[in-house]
């Protein structure tokens, strides 16, 4: 049987109203308990595999979001949680909102909802785990094609 590694999550609040942030946290607590899949919530981007971003991005936090993304080691997967992170949502027309998270960093998985329900977030994370495996395979294939043995 093929086993996936247990991924660690990094969560950052773009300019969310808190609704999705709280649901991300709720997904890690009893009743929903995403930790049963071996997922751990971490505060350190250098330990993280999956980046959960909530809320749209604005001029001020786009550097923060970019920096957090750059600090994460490859392979990594970005999940946009909630409609604001997907495309700006109800705040799309606000003067201080650039749009969804994909304006700044590449987003792999979009989880809709306002606020996104914990079930939907778990679904997104499970999809991210599969994508993470896939990206890891691709990285390995690319490395062996180059003949690099140093990463083994």
């Amino acid at each position: 049987m093929k086993m996936s590694k247990s991924p660690w999550l990094l969560h950052y609040d773009g300019s969310s109203c808190n609704g999705c942030d709280i649901e991300v946290l709720a997904a890690t607590t009893p009743v929903y308990d995403v930790e049963r899949f071996g997922v751990v919530n971490t505060g350190n981007p250098k330990h993280a595999d999956i980046f959960l971003i909530t809320g749209g991005v604005n001029d001020q936090n786009k550097e923060v979001v970019k920096q957090l993304y750059d600090q994460m080691p490859d392979p990594k997967v970005v999940v946009a949680i909630g409609i604001c992170a997907c495309d700006g949502g109800i705040f799309k027309e606000c003067y201080n909102i650039l749009g969804g998270a994909d304006k700044v960093i590449p987003v792999d998985i979009y989880v809709p909802g306002c606020a996104a329900r914990p079930e939907a977030i778990i679904d997104g994370v499970v999809k991210a785990v599969a994508l993470l495996d896939q990206k890891r395979e691709q990285m390995k294939a690319a490395e062996s094609a180059e003949g690099g043995a140093e990463h083994d």
Binding site: N58, D59, Q60, Y95, N96, L98
Partner: protein, 116 residues
């Protein structure tokens, strides 16, 4: 129930030049600052300052014409600096003599003074 909430709020209109004197008087009477709000109107910016004493609220209103400055009341009500910086950043109304002046760095919006 709703009897305590009249349909319209009672506002005392004052002159812009008297704002500091009015604020000092209210401070001596035991009021504290509840909020400061700016609204863009035809002939400038309408300031609505709200003070509270117990459960009572008192509103002061005055108008600042575009390009004009207004005095800070943060020396009387220390919490005012936060509201005044907000008014400065969002409405572009210059506020003089604030205790803590961010010089436009509180909100750092993409579009400067969006409510201007």
């Amino acid at each position: 129930m709703t009897e305590q909430n009249p349909v319209n709020i009672e506002v005392r209109e004052i002159e812009k030049a008297n704002v500091l004197a009015e604020a000092s008087r209210l401070h001596n009477e035991g009021y504290r600052l509840a909020q400061m709000c700016s609204t863009k109107v035809e002939d400038g910016y309408e300031m609505l300052y709200t003070f509270g004493k117990g459960y009572d609220l008192l509103h002061l209103r005055f108008t600042v014409v575009p390009g004009d400055k207004m005095d800070s009341i943060s020396h009387v009500f220390p919490a005012a600096f936060f509201y005044e910086n907000e008014i400065h950043d969002l409405f572009g109304v210059p506020v003089e003599f604030m205790t803590i002046d961010y010089h436009g760095g509180l909100y750092r919006t993409a579009e400067p003074t969006p409510f201007h």
